[in-house]
């Protein structure tokens, strides 16, 4: 396994309409980490992801993926990206679960190449990992929010990525499905060795689930173990007095 960090940011800044959204953030994410990114709304969490994914270009600073500057990075199949589902994916047009997941194999194929048996196998495998095999020929709109989210994870897994990036994956999903969902992420991280980055507004859950916590509010507020974050008064700094954690035992 390569030694260099899977993601590296060097004093990255990004402004939009004159307002600084990301201010000189430097950060390294190691392979195998399970990283939670938290911070207040408008604090730049999603912007940070978009910079990492080369969907936005920083005004200054550099982003590296697997040691390569992001603008030159080509191995996109290594990354499984799960955007905020509700706002992104078009669900009015009919498409089946199997077809959605097979979109995940597009990354590793070149242009002009049609899907083949190996892709079909990856789709089956990905659906198996998230436990959604029997839904393969259902329309995506026939599924509940929680089931849809598992399908989007399967889509991301279909390219057999090393790194999964999830933006607010549990929004609009009932609590029971959320629990199962976090179980799945633990599994992917610990048993399958995937690096996971999850952006969430749900601080309590995130702090309990992840192994590395990143807290940003324009600049980097905290980067380290979640336990240390809880001990200190970071939360009060971020959200004001009276904010406490709810801790769950594992």
């Amino acid at each position: 396994m390569k030694k260099e960090p899977i993601i590296k940011l060097e004093t990255v800044s990004f402004s939009y309409n004159g307002g600084k959204i990301i201010d000189r953030i430097s950060l390294e994410i190691k392979r195998g980490d399970y990283v939670g990114i938290i911070g207040p709304n408008g604090g730049g969490k999603t912007t940070l992801l978009r910079l990492v994914l080369n969907l936005l270009e920083p005004q200054s600073g550099l982003v590296y993926l697997s040691g390569q500057p992001v603008s030159q990075f080509r191995e996109w199949s290594m990354i499984g990206y799960i955007p905020q589902k509700a706002t992104q994916f078009e669900t009015r047009f009919p498409i089946t679960v199997g077809e959605v997941v097979s979109l995940g194999t597009v990354a590793r194929k070149g242009m002009f190449r049609r899907s083949d048996k190996a892709d079909e196998k990856s789709v089956e495998n990905a659906l198996h990992i998230v436990g959604m095999e029997e839904f393969k020929s259902k329309l995506i709109t026939e599924l509940s929010g929680g089931e849809q989210q598992r399908v989007f994870i399967a889509k991301a897994l279909a390219s057999e990525p090393d790194l999964l990036i999830l933006d607010e994956p549990t929004v609009g999903i009932d609590l029971e499905s959320q629990e199962k969902f976090y179980e799945l992420l633990q599994n992917l991280n610990q048993r399958m060795g995937k690096t996971i980055i999850i952006v969430s507004h749900d601080i309590d859950v995130t702090v309990n689930e992840v192994s590395v916590l990143v807290c940003i509010n324009r600049s980097l507020i905290y980067h380290g173990e979640p336990k240390q974050f809880i001990k200190k008064d970071y939360l009060e700094k971020l959200y004001g007095k009276g904010r406490r954690f709810i801790l769950h035992g594992h």
Binding site: S77, P83, F93, T96, L103, V106, R114
Partner: protein, 266 residues
């Protein structure tokens, strides 16, 4: 042999109609999925401006229509992505704007005449052999491009951003899709006419959507509905002496009505 096929102009109309009955709904699927349904209409108005240029300059109007529509489709796409004007607004602007240009050009030349009407409403009796070659040749190009770029185009239609992250060349393929649309629109003018081509691209697709099948099956059903509308439309219009373009679109609407009822009863 049926009497209808003894006329070579009807044979030509059927061949051209079948090609258009396949490619118009095929492209339409990708337009409807990404809420771009008005694209076809905007481009047909641009084709009309192109026809006007052809009528004025004496160049074969299908060529000028195609050139103007392709240039316009690229302009729409660039305005949408570079200037960040929302797609809907750009389309609305081009929809009426290009019609205005067409009208000015036409009145500048020699006023409305029969020739122009044949492009507005389609005129199957005027499909010439050269039209057949152009329609079949470019129809084949459209089919081939979609066959090989199918998975990328589906990805972009459903989630442009995720497609971009997967390394799909989204900007390039968006331009490819609008060019294919422009070509299809200008090819179809001879059969259904500029005013109705949008309907042939959209209605069979919306009908197929009611069946609630997979994306691939929806595409196939849309093509089937397109073909049924065109073929039966040509027959009916011939025997009842009706305008072919209008008949085809009315049949597509009728099919849509049937699928809506089927959907409700399920």
């Amino acid at each position: 042999m049926l009497e209808i096929f003894q006329y070579s102009f009807m044979v030509r109309a059927f061949i051209a109609g079948i090609v258009i009955g396949i490619i118009a709904p095929l492209i339409g699927n990708f337009l409807v999925a990404r809420r771009y349904s008005l694209m076809a209409d905007s481009l047909s108005h641009m084709s009309l401006a192109g026809v006007a240029i052809g009528l004025i300059t004496g160049i074969y109007p299908i060529y000028t229509a195609m050139i103007v529509a392709v240039a316009g489709s690229i302009a729409i796409e660039l305005l949408r992505t570079e200037k960040r004007i929302s797609g809907e607004v750009v389309l609305a602007m081009f929809l009426s704007g290009s019609l205005a240009i067409a009208i000015v050009l036409i009145s500048f030349a020699r006023g409305f005449n029969v020739d122009l009407f044949s492009y507005l409403f389609g005129s199957i009796s005027t499909v010439r052999e050269i039209d057949l070659w152009i329609i079949s040749g470019l129809g084949l190009v459209v089919l081939t491009v979609i066959f090989f770029l199918y998975k990328e185009l589906v990805y972009i239609a459903f989630d442009e951003e995720a497609a971009k992250v997967s390394g799909v060349k989204v900007r390039l393929l968006n331009i490819v899709l609008v060019i294919l649309t422009a070509v299809t629109v200008s090819l179809s003018m001879r059969i259904v006419g500029a005013l109705l081509i949008g309907a042939l691209m959209v209605i069979p697709v919306v009908a197929a959507m009611q069946l609630r099948k997979s994306f691939k099956q929806t595409v196939l059903f849309a093509i089937m509905f397109g073909l049924i509308s065109v073929i039966s439309g040509l027959f009916i219009s011939y025997y009842l002496n009706l305008a072919a373009g209008g008949t085809i679109v009315v049949l597509a609407l009728a099919l849509f009505g049937v699928t809506i009822i089927l959907n409700k009863s399920n």
